[in-house]
Symmetry: C2
Subunit: 140 residues, 2 copies
DNA sequence: TCTTGACCCTGTAATGACTACAGGGTGGAT
DNA sequence: ATCCACCCTGTAGTCATTACAGGGTCAAGA
């Protein structure tokens, strides 16, 4: 009494475009499902679970390679979850670095905006700040 | 008495890979420079200035399309710098959204890490939290 | 003069993670 | 019979580079 799903149903259930489901299959994240007589892909609950896992991990910002590792580890149920922890920890560190970079960027841009006197481009401090060789002409 | 540069010199001065300089030319961000007798690209200070502008704007996170707009506006010196302001402001808003998204993500992941009991994968809360259909089997 | 070696040239393909067709077949309802 | 929504494969596009492969150029040293 196993429920089956077409690729469209699977997509709706996991908020994944049909093309993306096929893409995951192509790159080996989803197993090749059996086919119907009309050559349609036939999915079951195991596929639904696996695709759900992938999408949730992607939402959390993991790369497909990281997702691959996590899926692999998730299958080895008796193993210590140390490596899972490491992957997540590394990802948090990466996210923190990106937050920091973006904050630096925002500050630079905000300072540029504060300097703008809303005059003509010729005197614009923003444009000026973008020109590291302001004494030279600029090609166009 | 105009200084000229080879593509390699230009790259060193602006911390740009040679391939990237050629790429900017291909997509129309840099004008086609004149060529030497041996078919080498010959750049001058105007090119240096323009490439510097591009690289600085890229460092500040502007897309190449935004850089194109900024370069275009920078050339229209008598125009009001309102549009420059708008582009930068839109970019700041975008960056703020990204910072916010990343902060949300970091919090979710930090919570996952806090729940990890460092046991076996079978009981791992992290893996569990990634499985939206935890009652179902998972294909592999 | 010859030969290194560093540089330059073009053109094409790869990266990540999809997305968007084109051109066709299937399935169920009317 | 016909319609439409859905499915199929295969290929190419996105963004901003980067990485070759397979050649040509140029200045210096032996």
């Amino acid at each position: 009494m196993m429920r089956t799903y077409t690729i469209g149903e699977l997509g709706r259930l996991t908020e994944t475009k049909v093309e993306t489901v096929r893409y995951y299959e192509r790159v080996g994240l989803l197993p090749h499902p059996p086919r119907s007589s009309g050559n349609y892909r036939v999915y079951d609950d195991a596929h639904l679970g696996r695709l759900g896992f992938i999408r949730r991990a992607r939402e959390l910002g993991f790369s497909l390679d990281q997702v691959r590792e996590l899926l692999d580890l998730a299958g080895q149920t008796t193993r210590s979850c140390e490596e899972v922890d490491e992957i997540v920890q590394a990802h948090v560190t990466d996210i923190e670095r990106r937050i920091h970079d973006l904050q630096t960027l925002r500050q630079e841009l905000t300072q540029l905006l504060a300097q703008c006197q809303h005059g003509k481009v010729a005197e614009c401090r923003i444009i000026g700040a973008l020109q590291p060789y302001a004494d030279r002409p600029m090609a166009g």
